[in-house]
């Protein structure tokens, strides 16, 4: 029997969609739990190192670049705003707090999603449609352990480190515009950075980056792993759509989770 459209039977349609979402959410949670437990398998270490290199080390350049310009823009914008209130001296604190508490974790996560998350979804998706994952199954190699678990572990390691790098470079970016271009005193800038930032701010930023790491890696791997179950397309097109979904859903959830974590931390 053909399924009714939304206009023919809105309640049924909504109900069906809700059930699908709940199912998918449940599947994601189970997926995460299974893969998380497998991180501690003895054969994982070399694969985790390999993924840390791919997700972490190879994302460092782009994260530094984005961090630098974010810091520079912040330095410029905040300098002009603070000058109006005669408080240009607190520029260091403003730049550092904005970066450490908010922009660092969020922008780093979005950049890694774009660079490594999309690649995770596409790579696993292609392995799914070309039966490479079935081949792992037939060799008694758990595909979740071999393909997904190292990526989640590597994300958990890489996201906070890259966030720290982003924050550091961003603060230097603020220094470039605030001090070198706008003429603020260098000592004042760094003094305000040091005194304005508490350990709680740094911890909060890292908590966010850990949450984003789990979210991004889980969503991207999940989308790739279940590419073959998509109802809207098959084959290469399904891989393309899974990659797009992975990036879009990750970015949206990063912002949603950012709000939730911020409200819990404050």
């Amino acid at each position: 029997m053909d399924k009714e459209t939304f206009f023919e039977s809105p309640v049924t349609s909504l109900g069906r969609t809700a059930i699908r979402w709940v199912n998918e959410l449940g599947a994601m949670v189970l997926f995460l739990l299974r893969t998380f437990l497998m991180i501690f398998h003895p054969k994982q270490f070399p694969m985790i190192i390999h993924q840390v290199y791919f997700i972490g080390a190879r994302s460092a350049t782009i994260v530094m670049l984005v961090g630098l310009f974010t810091g520079m823009v912040l330095g410029l914008q905040l300098f002009h705003t603070l000058v109006k209130f005669g408080s240009a001296g607190v520029l260091g604190t403003a730049v550092a707090l904005s970066l450490i508490r908010e922009l660092g974790p969020v922008l780093t996560a979005i950049m890694i999603t774009a660079r490594a998350g999309s690649s995770m979804a596409a790579e696993i998706g292609i392995q799914r449609i070309s039966e490479q994952i079935d081949a792992l199954d037939t060799m008694r190699i758990d595909p979740l352990r071999y393909l997904v678990s190292p990526r989640i572990a590597a994300s958990i390691i890489s996201f906070p480190l890259l966030t720290a790098l982003f924050d550091l470079i961003g603060i230097l970016g603020g220094f470039v515009t605030g001090v070198m271009m706008m003429g603020l005193n260098a000592g004042t800038y760094f003094y305000r950075v040091r005194t304005g930032v508490d350990l709680e701010d740094i911890t909060g930023g890292f908590v966010k980056s850990l949450v984003f790491a789990v979210l991004v890696s889980m969503i991207c791997c999940f989308q790739g792993y279940y590419t073959h179950l998509r109802r809207d397309s098959y084959g290469a097109k399904a891989v393309g759509l899974s990659t797009t979904s992975a990036v879009v859903v990750s970015c949206v959830l990063i912002l949603v989770a950012d709000y939730v974590v911020t409200s819990l931390l404050l």
């Binding site: 054969k43 790579e123 392995q127 070309s130 039966e131 490479q132 079935d134 081949a135 199954d137 037939t138 060799m139 008694r140 190699i141 071999y146």
Partner: protein, 413 residues
């Protein structure tokens, strides 16, 4: 009675409302080559995936050495399935890994062997499969046949007791198809595993199979030996096997054993009772060593060239030839008695020694400076129309076989 290694009892599988397997009963015995044949979409791959546990049945029981798989604990199931390797239709090689990495993967991930031991085993397997030159290449840089060999190496590197081959010859030309089948047969004998194949290569696959399972509309309609299948009277044989045989003949110019028998029957019907005919059986001796020395593809090309040569030679005197087994041909001489046939075969042997071997070598694209060990045996048997079964005449011819041509070579490795 032998206990089956794998047994299906009333196994059914549906995908949505489509019944793929319908109350399937089958048995697979240890140490044998079992081939599953059937039209596209008849559920062959689904059946194979049930054996390795990738798909579970909706109904019915799968027994492994007499024990239901469903009732096994997880560790026992793992132990059972770890004895099975699966070679996918499209090879399913990891495209971002080199050939040697692909082959090493199951050892690295499922055993506690040291890196050195793994490297040694991989190197040995690569050598056996003639892949040494491409060990550092990626799968996409290899030909289809080479990719098959890599997939086969990966399947065999863990020393499995059972290997499942899902259409191992798909997309290959006729020579390579036979080369792959010959390779499977050779390694099956060498390593002693149980092989289960899905293949459309009728009748070539019969030469290497101990048992045939025919799947049609989700049901097993035949299971038995290839010889029993040749006698099997069912519309499936006409629809499926006949069309494949015609295609095969078109490609190779050599008839199948079934076609040979049919043509032979027609010929005999036209003969008066007690009118004699002769069957000549030609065997290419040491065919496995020949394949090992020159490669399976070249081995098949030689076999093909020899078939063509036989057809050309005996066609001129009213005979017709067919492939009898992996390395044997039969020639039917309908208008001859034994003395006359002996003279014809002696003339053939002289021609073969004089220029035939060179012709076969040239047609098989073997360079003239390459020497290959090559021996042909011939046996003759005379019979009268309607006196005895043709299979009995084949057996008589086999008993009388003697060497008619041989090339000696020093095999260098």
């Amino acid at each position: 009675m032998k206990t089956p290694l794998i047994e299906f009892q009333k196994v059914s599988k549906r995908f949505n409302n489509h019944v793929v397997l319908d109350q399937v009963d089958l048995t697979i015995y240890e140490g044998e080559v079992t081939t599953i044949i059937g039209k596209s979409g008849s559920g062959k791959s689904v059946l194979l995936k049930h054996i390795i546990g990738l798909i579970t049945p909706d109904e019915g029981i799968i027994l492994f050495r007499g024990q239901p798989v469903k009732k096994m604990g997880k560790s026992e199931q793992d132990r059972t399935f770890s004895q099975i390797s699966y070679m996918f239709q499209n090879n399913a090689l990891f495209d971002s890994m080199t050939v040697s990495e692909n082959i090493a993967l199951p050892l690295q991930q499922t055993t506690r062997l040291s890196q050195k031991a793994i490297e040694e085993r991989v190197r040995a397997r690569i050598g056996q499969m003639e892949l040494t030159d491409v060990a550092r290449n990626y799968p996409s840089e290899l030909s289809g046949g080479m990719q098959k060999r890599v997939a086969l190496s990966r399947a065999l590197v863990v020393d499995p007791r059972i290997v499942l081959f899902d259409e191992p010859t798909t997309g290959q030309d006729v020579i390579r198809r036979n080369a792959i089948l010959s390779m499977i047969a050779q390694y099956q004998r060498k390593f002693g595993f149980t092989a289960v194949l899905i293949s459309h290569d009728v009748p070539d696959v019969f030469f290497i199979s101990n048992r045939i399972l025919a799947l049609s509309d989700g049901k097993i309609i035949f299971q038995g030996t290839p010889e029993q299948f040749e006698e099997f009277d069912h519309p499936f044989v006409d629809e499926f096997v006949q069309s494949l045989e015609d295609f095969q003949e078109h490609l190779t110019g050599i008839q199948s054993k079934r076609q040979f028998k049919a043509r032979n029957q027609m010929g005999l019907r036209r003969k008066r009772p007690q009118e004699s005919y002769v069957v000549a059986l030609f065997t290419l001796q040491d065919f496995d060593q020949l394949c090992e020395y020159l490669g399976h593809t070249q081995g098949q090309e030689i076999l093909n060239a020899m078939g063509t040569y036989l057809n050309k030679h005996f066609g001129a005197v009213g005979g017709f030839s067919a492939r009898q087994s992996k390395n044997q041909f039969t020639t039917f001489l309908p208008f001859s008695n034994l003395n006359e046939a002996e003279r014809i075969v002696e003339k053939f042997a002289a021609d073969l020694r004089e220029e035939g071997l060179r012709t076969i070598q040239a047609e098989a694209h073997v360079p003239q400076d390459v020497c290959f060990p090559f021996a042909i045996l011939t046996g003759l048997a005379e019979s009268q129309a309607g006196r005895e079964e043709i299979d009995l005449v084949f057996r008589k011819a086999e008993v009388t076989q003697k060497e008619i041509a041989r090339v000696y070579c020093e095999i260098r490795r």
